[in-house]
């Protein structure tokens, strides 16, 4: 029987996808891993995922000294 699942279709680059897969290990939100650039996730977690991703990106950014 055909199954229809409602969720959010996400398009991103491979690097972000890896990050999302890693985040998935803590709280599962990925319903299906479609291919290199697409994922299907649970809609309820969308905002949290975006926020967590943003945080992670921020941590890895080198802030240069403000010119005085």
């Amino acid at each position: 029987m055909v199954k229809a699942v409602k969720g959010v279709f996400v398009e991103c680059d491979p690097a972000t996808r890896e990050v999302l897969l890693k985040l998935n290990e803590k709280d599962k939100f990925i319903i299906e891993d479609l291919d290199n650039t697409h994922l299907f996730i649970n809609s309820t977690h969308l905002d949290r995922v975006k926020w967590a991703l943003d945080e992670l990106m921020n941590e890895n950014y080198y802030k240069k000294e403000q010119p005085k």
Partner: protein, 460 residues
Amino acid sequence: MATTAQATLARSEDEFRLTIAEYLESLPTPFIRRVFSNPAACLAIFRLLSTVGKQLIISMLYLDSPLQLHDMHQWAKPDHQRTVKAKIHQLRKLQILVEAKGMVSLNAIFREQLRNALTGGGDFGSFGIVYRGPRDPRVTALWLTRYASERWESILHFMVGQSADVAPPSESVRGILKMSHLMDESNGEGLRISNSGFQFLLQDPVSQVWTVLLQYLRLAEMQDMDVVEVLNFLFQLVSLQPGQQYSTEALTKNQRRMLNELCDFGLLYLDGAARRFYPTHLITSLTSGSSGAAATTTTTTTGSTITSKLSDVGEMAVPSEAGYIILETNCRLYAYTSSPLQIAILNLFAHLVNRFPNFVTGALTRESIRSAISHGITADQIITFLTTNAHPQMHGHMPVLPITVTDQVRLWERERNRLHPVHAHFYKDFNHKSEFERVFRYAQDIGVILWANTDKMQLV
């Protein structure tokens, strides 16, 4: 140098032309008929159209009998046929062109009144009656320009939140700002600027005025004011001469009310005691062309949306302010201005470091751009704003802004939007391949497929 500025101006004009055209289209036929019966309105609408549209109309203006549609298509060279067909379609939607059995002609009322407008016949009262009394020596063209700019800037100031030293504008202005969602009522703090408000701030003055006027039209509709009267009056106002005094005697009650409200925006100066008003450059520049948009006839090919670009009709009525921003390749910014408004706007997306009496320095940092983006401003708007306000010295380069900086701003924007989420349904576990094929083909026909994998038989 000129082309980039023109291109960006053309784009912002496209947006608001889009909306005024949409508004006109949405009016039912009897309304349109009444709008067309006013020569000033016909002339104003005519000026709003693109070069090709104008050409088509002028060619048919003095033809009394209808023309074959096929013949009209022949007027264009083969490779521009598509443009012409698109234009004809637009004119039909605006009800300017009437088609019957393969023959087209201009809408009779429109034709009549446009002829009147051009030759000065008919009811020329619709162009405004000049006041024949003594002139007020205080009110000169220069004074009016300054008055208009002050008023407009005070409204923009109020939006940015610098209202500590500026008196808040009147009720009607605040009402319009709220209704158009340029500002929102936030809990207990009064009005605060919204995302679209930020975008509004970064537009050029002409688009800003258009946006406000359209909102005013919608407000008028809601208040049961006669829309046609309002529209006619607006078109009349845009064809007046700045600095010339006009009498208010012939105006109806509604029109007087409009005068009062528009006065608050700085679009007019109303001398109630002497019963006359002076239009300012803000309102007269609406159809007389902002600094020469490109006269080429390129149009977008998106099927049904209207894009009418204003072509340059020769002179430039608006005194455009000289640019004042210099942007270096290391993202440092130098702005030669002392206007608190402009500094406040720059503050929205740049990190300002030093302030001197006539000069402000700062830089575009990752943080400042990111905070701007989180408020809803797009990278394109920032770039357009910087380009249109670039110092004349920058115009020597091609492109005007350093590519490194524009690319960096876009990258920062993309960084924030790494994910593209779309709400969708996921279909899997099809029993037979044929079943999958059928669903796939159907979905393809109605154009809803986001992603499909035929090997694993899954669809999104």
